[in-house]
């Protein structure tokens, strides 16, 4: 995809995090008031999926910036602030998505999430919504001078600055190699869990119930979180080599499908009901095989970024 298409994508995606979190939050409150367990689960699913969608929203934002930069009517400082605000919102959004998934995982395991979990989701989602709305307002002002408020431009209050992070990684000899190493360790953790859990569904170690292996899923999500953090760090450090990298585009697409796939194992009965010795139904096997395939695809396109996309 070229810069113009990526900008279109950003303009499409950028509505989802704010609006999606508002819907999630509304459902969540309705669920608490109405004491509906199903509604609670639904809102947790929304938080998780929106947190996933926020990843391409953030990434495509950098392309939109590259497309727009240098125009006289667009203040660079405003874009910079929007970007830093987006990074902070992304951190909290991913944290919310992670805790929300953990709640779904507990729902599956012990039929209700721990009390701390719902409290944490509630607080995190409110903070995230605030940060996201702030990001959205700044984003809107970039191309709409008519709504710019006096004093917004240049009021620099961000503590999580993309530019400082990039400078740090670029000027610290060990930072990039260390980040790569951690990314590879996270990769091993993800692939390990993906293989073990899905191989059970495909028929290896049938004497183990799925419920037992369900305990391993948080380790996979931990690996995913580690790689999300380290991956975004690569991106922030040298965005130029990633924004238009076709291999990264494919990697993100496959990764989002594969990550959303974890809901199949966390929400539905089919896999969960597999006791010791049970054979999984064909749909479960198809999903298990495609999950393995998708993650290997993620590794493939990650590895191909220097060769297809020209990064290093």
């Amino acid at each position: 995809m070229n810069l113009a298409n990526l900008t279109h994508l950003h303009l499409l995606l950028n509505h989802f995090p704010t609006v999606g979190f508002l819907i999630g939050l509304g459902l969540f409150l309705a669920a608490i008031v109405g004491k509906s367990e199903n509604l609670k689960r639904a809102s947790l699913v929304i938080f998780f999926l929106i947190a996933l969608l926020a990843i391409p929203t953030y990434l495509s934002g950098k392309a939109a910036q590259q497309a727009i930069t240098g125009r006289p009517d667009v203040p660079e400082a405003l874009i910079e602030m929007h970007q830093d605000s987006a990074l902070l919102a992304l951190v909290f959004m991913e944290l919310t998505g992670f805790v929300a998934w953990l709640g779904l995982w507990q729902f599956r395991r012990i039929s209700r999430p721990a009390r701390w979990n719902l409290t944490a989701v509630f607080l995190l989602s409110i903070i995230t919504f605030g940060l996201m709305a702030r990001t959205a307002i700044m984003g809107g002002e970039i191309r709409h001078p008519e709504i710019r408020t006096e004093g917004t431009v240049g009021s620099d209050t961000e503590w999580l600055k993309s530019a400082s992070i990039a400078t740090f990684v670029n000027t610290t000899a060990w930072a990039w190699p260390l980040n790569e190493t951690i990314h590879f360790i996270g990769l091993s953790l993800v692939l390990g869990v993906v293989l073990v859990v899905n191989l059970r569904i495909l028929g290896v170690m049938k004497n183990v119930s799925f419920a037992a292996l369900h305990r391993l899923l948080p380790w996979g999500i931990l690996g995913f979180a580690v790689n999300l953090i380290t991956g975004i760090l690569f991106f922030i450090t040298i965005p130029e080599q990633y924004t238009q990298n076709v291999a990264l585009h494919w990697k993100v697409v496959l990764m989002l499908i594969a990550a959303a796939n974890v809901l199949y194992f966390t929400l539905f009965e089919e896999a969960w009901a597999l006791g010791p010795g049970d054979d999984a139904p064909p749909t479960a096997k198809v999903i298990a095989a495609s999950t393995i395939f998708l993650w290997i695809g993620v590794i493939y396109f990650g590895r191909m970024m220097p060769f297809i996309g020209g990064s290093f």
Partner: protein, 167 residues
């Protein structure tokens, strides 16, 4: 010895893997090596975590049936690793980082072989895990982390930094 390594490095196959623009050459070898790494280190680490007490509902007698996939990853990486070695043989042969990586892998595989013997016991899940087993499992995780770190550092530290495609 160095003559032999130089001959290997200049052989037609090594030159093709190193210099061809085809995605089937160096990029594919690297990709397969990464997948193999995930299989070996990932599955081995999960078995170790289970021994250390995580996800204790998972019976070890069941988990050991995933070990063939770990070994498949190991053999895949032995083959792709040899290819990655010969295309840069004279440099790798004098790199301390390379020998560090090999040492970590040898130790981790050593632990796997010990575990394989223990896993044959059908009453494995009936008994509590001995301290010895936990120390071995912890050592194994450390060795894999060490092997991955050393592998990554091959592109940054020691001789031949430029040739490895690192930053």
């Amino acid at each position: 010895m160095m003559d032999f390594l130089a001959w290997l490095e200049q052989s037609g196959f090594a030159t093709w893997v190193r210099e061809s623009n085809s995605l089937l050459a160096y990029p594919s070898v690297l990709f397969l090596h990464t997948v193999g790494m995930g299989c070996v280190a990932g599955i081995s680490a999960l078995v170790d975590l289970r021994i250390l007490g995580c996800a204790s509902e998972v019976p070890l007698t069941g988990l050991r049936k995933t070990l063939p996939y770990m070994w498949a990853g190991f053999w895949l990486n032995t083959v792709t690793g040899i290819v990655l070695f010969i295309i840069d043989a004279t440099t790798k042969a004098v790199s301390p980082v390379f020998y560090t990586k090999m040492t970590f892998i040898a130790m981790a595989i050593g632990v796997c072989l010990v575990q394989r013997g223990v896993f044959r016991d059908p009453l494995l899940d009936k008994r509590p895990i001995e301290m010895k087993g936990k120390i071995l499992a912890f050592t194994s995780i450390l060795c894999w982390v060490g092997a991955i770190t050393a592998g990554r550092l091959l592109a940054y530290v020691g001789p031949g930094v430029v040739s490895s495609g690192g930053r």
